[in-house]
Amino acid sequence: MALRDLFQRLSQAPTNPHTAPVSRQFDVADLYRGPVSDTAATGTGGGLPLDEKLRQAYFWIVNTAIISPHYDVEYNTEPPRSFVLGDSKSRLTLPSSQSYSSFVLLPLLTFATRRKCLFIGGPGRGKTASALLMGVLGGYPVREVRRAMLHGHPQMTIADLLGNPLPADLVNAQDIKDIRIAWRGWLDMRVKIIDEYNRIPTRTQSALLTVMGDNYAEIMDHIHECPEAAWFLTANDDQGGGTYQVIEALRDRIDVVVQALAFNPRFLSDLVTRIEERIRPEEVVPKQIIFTETEIDRLQDEIRTVALPVQVRRRLEFFTSQFEFCEVAGEQFEYKTKDTARLAGVEWATLTARDTGRDKIKDLGCQTRNGLSVRALMTIIHYAKAIAYFRGNPEVELEDLRQILPFVLFDKLVQDVDAPFFESPGNTAFRSDRVGWLRRVFDLSCAEYDRLNLDRDDPVAQLASEFRLGLDGVAESEVASRLVRIERLITDWARGNKLYGHLYDDMLKLKYLHQRYTNYLRWLKSR
């Protein structure tokens, strides 16, 4: 560059940059916005982004439809203020960010993801009313939702549940295929409500299981396909206090369990107004928050696009690893699981008595009688994405996982109430507070994860990511080197003596990698 050019060059950047205010724009669409709500500008809410619509639905229910919301799903942007009260040192936390009521939020996320939610709690706490609201949000008139709601009772037959063969066809038909079935209307609803499901007789529960699990109903070789739906079930007592014991498979199909918490009498005046003014929230749901079938389809698609970052996924993996491992349940490495013992019918007390000298308070696996199923994990991921979407975030945060996890695992992770952990001071309340217990277990798992420094130093994850790059073109020497690394890692860990759940799963993963590399090496040598 010539000297002259240097002197003539001007700075490309602004010399004293200020943010210029944007010229104000006016939109004539604002003409139709004003004191009257729900005008052409907002239409029926169709113009809103769906996550915003979902939030509006949530806040309408919390602020208008239900009395006495409990903000038990807590989020904090900065350390919250907390207070210790009473002899038992109860802690009251005032969250520093927008927090939510699980009794409203979880059903709403269930509605958005078309999954299955169980309301539990004593009679008259609004379980059925909340389920009704979800039906109305799904676009059904209140009367239709009420009529389509199934009420469990001890005499409920499969015909009551699914439908009846037409009597005339029963007499005249020459073939079973000629018998037409009058299917019950609720089967075609996109929001299905079953009140007091634990009062349904066991045989009828099995028919219900087919509808819940496989989305079809069957009578006399006739099949009725049901649309994808959100399910809401209620039970006064989820601990087998219903008329019939709920079959395990049916319980397992339920994705989240939400407890209807007690009414706070400080809100009695609202109750009085409601009685005096004859307000039934389900009858005055604003049109803007009612979702069409297409919108719910779109909601599901949008929720699925929410990312689950690797760091968050690893915490879930580590947490899950804690529970299934049972060292004394099997001789072969792969069978050292609680499920092996359960399938063999080994008494739990016998099993725990034989357990090795692990620290039973520190080992989180000692607090449960089972591990997590694949279905439970999938449900956690679905709901974690849904809550992140609801909060307007493009990816799941660790706190989303922490908040959602207890409601999914509520009745899936079975406590061993005799475990030493629950005898420790301050932990006895966890025997009855399962939400609190599951949050504590997750926190302990995350603390252990941090202690092991797995975010920075995770050799199994490194080996796995190397393997995910593929084996094409990997040289024999490289494969041999990776095999040596795997064996050396196992040798190092074997020196630690104690085997915990997360190590057990890591070992199985290493074995898997070892096997894949061994097969590949063999193939390379055979060429």
């Binding site: 205010p21 052409a40 239409g43």
Partner: protein
């Protein structure tokens, strides 16, 4: 006495209507049952009866929508005896029955949207809600759907004084059939007895002229684009000089915005007016002038211009010494020491010919 039709509708949805009232009462404790009852009887009932006479099946949905919107309006005292202005009530009494086909097609949207618009026109100083209601009555039979009727209403609102909607109203006009766009900007007869009315007694322009009119409206801020409503351009003293088009703004003590004589500043090619500690964005064109509260950022970015009156501008003596001048491409604005008004002049080439002035 409520008609049998409306009584039957109210009875059939009694629970829901009562629940809506109860919910509104909770939200607006001052809601009076008597006022709402009077509104139902005097305003909603005739509308329902009109709809029922031509389309009995539509009476129910219209009644439902009218009840919902009416409840919100009565609760906020925007209709009835205590209303701040009469325009929403007049909309319901005079326009909705005429626009019955559109009300029937989309009751909640049409009634709610037009009520909001009437409220806005009634609340903006200098806007002409009476003209707007007349225009709505005019365009209702010309619109082929509720959507186009509402769009025509938007264009008409700009025409009736809401100058800040100029750009977006023009864009909306582009989506309308030419005849409807022209109708939204023209009323065939002067509105009787309304001195603020701008409508001239002129025949409706030929739809073939719409592209030309549309272009003039786009290019010339101070033209009404309609052939000056039939007037010719003769008699112009000096066509090369800015022409006084409008005095806008007033002393707060007389119902205006300004606590003291205002001063003009400019930012981002927009006029801002400062008076005391407050500031407003001023938008103006041939159809009206509106003020909008300015943000602190906008005021901080705005700068005064040298208070030199451009050549050819005739400054009235009654405003006293000129205190500030602002020049935009299309407009010159001037303030004086003895007035709380802002004087707006059309720059030549941007309309403002004979007949375009107020």
């Amino acid at each position: 006495m409520i008609s049998a039709v409306f009584t039957a509708i109210l009875k059939s949805g009694r629970e829901e209507f009562n629940a809506q009232y109860a919910l509104a009462k909770k939200q607006f404790p001052a809601l009076e049952a008597e006022a709402f009852s009077n509104f139902l009887q005097a305003t909603v009932d005739p509308l329902v009866a009109t709809v029922h006479s031509t389309n009995p099946e539509a009476a129910g949905p219209v009644a439902q929508a009218a009840y919902e919107v009416g409840l919100e309006l009565v609760a906020q005292r925007l209709v009835g005896a205590q209303a701040r202005h009469p325009w929403i009530q007049q909309l319901w009494d005079e326009v909705l029955p005429v626009a019955e086909q559109h009300v029937t097609a989309a009751p909640r949207e049409v009634i709610g949207a037009l009520s909001n618009a009437a409220h806005q026109l009634g609340s903006v100083p200098g806007a002409r809600p009476r003209d707007w209601l007349a225009l709505l009555t005019h365009v209702a039979p010309l619109s082929d759907s509720a959507g186009s009727f509402l769009k025509a209403g938007q264009v008409a609102a700009w025409r009736c004084g809401l100058a800040h909607y100029r750009e977006s109203a023009l864009a909306v006009a582009d989506t309308l059939p030419p005849a409807l766009a022209l109708a939204a900007l023209t009323v065939p007869g002067k509105v009787n007895g309304d001195p603020a009315s701008h409508f001239a007694e002129s025949p409706a322009p030929d739809t073939a002229t719409w592209p030309e009119i549309r272009q003039r409206l786009q290019d010339e801020r101070w033209t009404r684009g309609l052939g000056n409503n039939g007037r010719n351009h003769s008699g112009r003293s000096d066509p090369s000089a800015p022409r006084l088009m409008r005095r806008t703004g007033a002393f707060r003590g007389f119902g205006g915005l300004f606590p003291e004589p205002p001063r003009l500043v400019v930012a981002q090619d927009q006029l801002y007016v400062r008076s005391g500690n407050d500031g407003w964005l001023l938008t103006a064109d041939a159809f009206g002038a509106t003020f909008h509260r300015a943000t602190l950022e906008e005021l901080a970015a705005a700068r005064p211009q040298i208070p030199q009156v451009p050549a050819g501008v005739e400054v009235p003596e009654d405003i006293g010494p000129v205190t500030s001048v602002a020049r935009l491409d299309h407009t010159v604005a001037i303030t004086g020491a003895l007035t709380h008004a802002v004087l707006l002049y059309a720059v030549p080439g941007h309309g403002g010919e004979e007949g375009d002035e107020p």
